[in-house]
Symmetry: C2
Subunit: 135 residues, 2 copies
């Protein structure tokens, strides 16, 4: 297996929060909605079923754990989970906290409008709570 290398667009649009056993947990630089991106640290994969069965199971555990923590921390109306990859082919899973009345509620967030940069303190406060909920 060749060494894992993060897609350049994912690297540009998100920051590393922490590395889990399988996935990099990253936060998208878009304050319109709490938006996490999980990237299995495996090279050359585009579909979830490209992972080994054991890694598919681990991905499920990690995504669901992060989704539950995100719900706890944000009190979101609904958590949205999606693996699309139509633009960025490196396998990645989005986990987003959605609220009634958010900028594209109840539509999907992908491809909608322009991202809005976080204030650094706002992002740090959110991530501190998230990491605590995950620990």
């Amino acid at each position: 297996m060749s060494e894992f290398e993060l897609d350049a667009r994912i690297a540009r649009d998100s920051d590393l929060v922490t590395a889990l056993d399988l996935c990099q947990l990253r936060i998208q630089n878009d304050s319109r909605w709490p938006w996490l991106v999980m990237v299995p640290q495996r090279s050359g994969l585009t579909e979830i079923f490209d992972l080994s069965p054991a890694e598919q199971a681990l991905l499920s555990v990690e995504v669901n754990r992060v989704a539950a923590a995100l719900k706890t921390v944000t009190g979101a109306t609904k958590i949205n989970v999606g693996a699309l990859g139509n633009i960025v082919r490196q396998l990645h899973v989005h986990v987003i906290a959605r609220f009634e009345g958010d900028p594209n509620w109840p539509g999907p967030i992908w491809g909608f409008g322009q991202s809005v940069t976080y204030e650094e303190q706002q992002k740090q406060d959110f991530l501190n709570k998230l990491v605590e909920a995950l620990s």
Copy 2:
């Protein structure tokens, strides 16, 4: 646990293909893209992490198996998998075959335009291949 009852909107917009161990596998009545909907046969749940850990694992196995079969049958450019539920709250997972140049490529399919009814033979041919790939 109360008896499973399918959400009325899901029942209206999709047809049952087969019942797996956990999920109803359904086909959305929209010929613009091969679009499957998987509904865990459990009542009162809205988030994947509302399932028991064993059922979360089973959901992952079933969704990934269906996604791989859908890729095989359609030769799709990319499989999109998503659990949104902003409109229909009953827990369900979308599995969609996407192609470069399809009506909203590379954007998401949710909330886009109007559905286009299948010709019955076209739908049946697709489902025959899908069920064979799953068996």
